[in-house]
Symmetry: C2
Subunit: 214 residues, 2 copies
DNA sequence: TAAGTTACGTAACGATGTTACGGCATAATG
DNA sequence: CATTATGCCGTAACATCGTTACGTAACTTA
């Protein structure tokens, strides 16, 4: 029923090449022929594995979210849920700014919800841990979900403005800490504790494996 | 020196058509031939007026920022600088969510700074009026500029997540008011006044001329 | 071993951005 | 007003894009 099974390694090389070409040369260089040449095959293989360039872009976006998840998982546990939330944001920013083309592609089309759910789930968990620890107000669950959305709003807006060069890259940590302070103070009852958490995260967090961030 | 001068009306129609096709049918439908047909001319005209599709996209982005500026100017004066800042943000959100394809295009490439300076200047002015009125901390000018950048971060992040359907459109006003409260409380000395300003803006602000927002 | 099924290289098709060429309308000049 | 020259823009071509028809080779299955 399945003679001459398709080689999964070719598919992996195609995605890998797609992400690399996109990152290094921009979206205009990501063509079917270029992709086939990079993977040492022909354009037909692109269609047997993906069905079309739309699905290639979809796969590239999935890959982008997967790499982001890897970086989020690699952040050390600071034993302070609010600091962990801030550290996750810092990792998010570092990942996005290290890969502007890939990051832009991740939000370029309308299929983000399907492939971004896992990333968002991580963020929801981080916020919930803040609520459970009494660091954020204990409100209705929908409102708590909203805080995760608002955190993502801040992260995404900051990466986008930074890679569009509307915000100087060297100011990003300052702005991120500043906005995090304002938001997380507002989410909880203890302004000083929130401020300490932000300072702790900005002091302790270090970008993990920047080479693999591409 | 300039026989058979180019008709500026044709250029205006090209930009108008480009913005409309982009808004109604998406970026894939914005082709040179389609554009020429819409404006009743041939593809050569596109090159005499713009030089290439890249410059067409640049002009479309300029048009997008120009329309945004029109909407920002149309917001009523609430005689409260912080409320005006919030109202400007609401207008920004309404404009972006009414024109998702145009908004996406505005931040898609690397030429945003050139054409977004005027929009950013407006935001800086609104923040400065808050500082001058004593509603925000009187800090060094660079920090005050940073508050404008942070406001833009919030606005842009929110529009982007909303048009990517990562944030339900009906939750946008709630999240915007919530984040504005947290940020602007943190920027000033009087939390109650900030809260009143946000409530005032969210109560008094109305979208202006939604038909022309396209 | 034989047959059947599937991957994938070759080469084509339509559509894209871009450009060479030529006609012709219009400004500049006497 | 006549002449000239300048440059807009319609036609048609070119390279390259995504996509697909077709054929061959390779692998599974019986």
């Amino acid at each position: 029923m399945s003679p001459k099974t398709a080689d999964p390694a070719v598919r992996a090389r195609l995605i890998e090449s797609a992400a690399r070409v996109l990152a290094e040369e921009g979206p205009n260089s990501l063509t079917a022929r270029r992709l086939a040449a990079e993977a040492g095959t022909s354009t037909t293989a692109v269609y047997t594995f993906f069905g079309g360039m739309d699905q290639v872009w979809h796969a590239v976006r999935r890959e982008g979210f997967a790499r982001l998840a890897t970086h989020l998982d690699a952040t050390p546990d600071l034993a302070d849920p609010v600091a962990n939330l801030v550290a996750g944001g810092a990792a998010y920013l570092a990942n996005g700014m290290a890969n502007p083309n890939l990051y832009r592609a991740m939000f370029d089309r309308h299929d983000v919800p399907d492939i971004g759910n896992d990333t968002f789930g991580r963020l929801v968990g981080a916020v919930r841990r803040c609520v459970d620890a009494g660091r954020f107000h204990r409100v209705e669950p929908l409102r708590s979900l909203g805080w995760a959305v608002q955190s993502w709003t801040m992260r995404h807006g900051m990466v986008s403005l930074a890679i569009a060069e509307l915000m100087p890259a060297e100011h990003v940590p300052l702005h991120f800490a500043d906005m995090s302070r304002c938001l997380f103070i507002g989410y909880g009852d203890d302004p000083e504790a929130a401020e300490r958490s932000v300072d702790l995260a900005m002091r302790e967090w270090r970008p993990v494996d920047p080479a693999g961030a591409s």
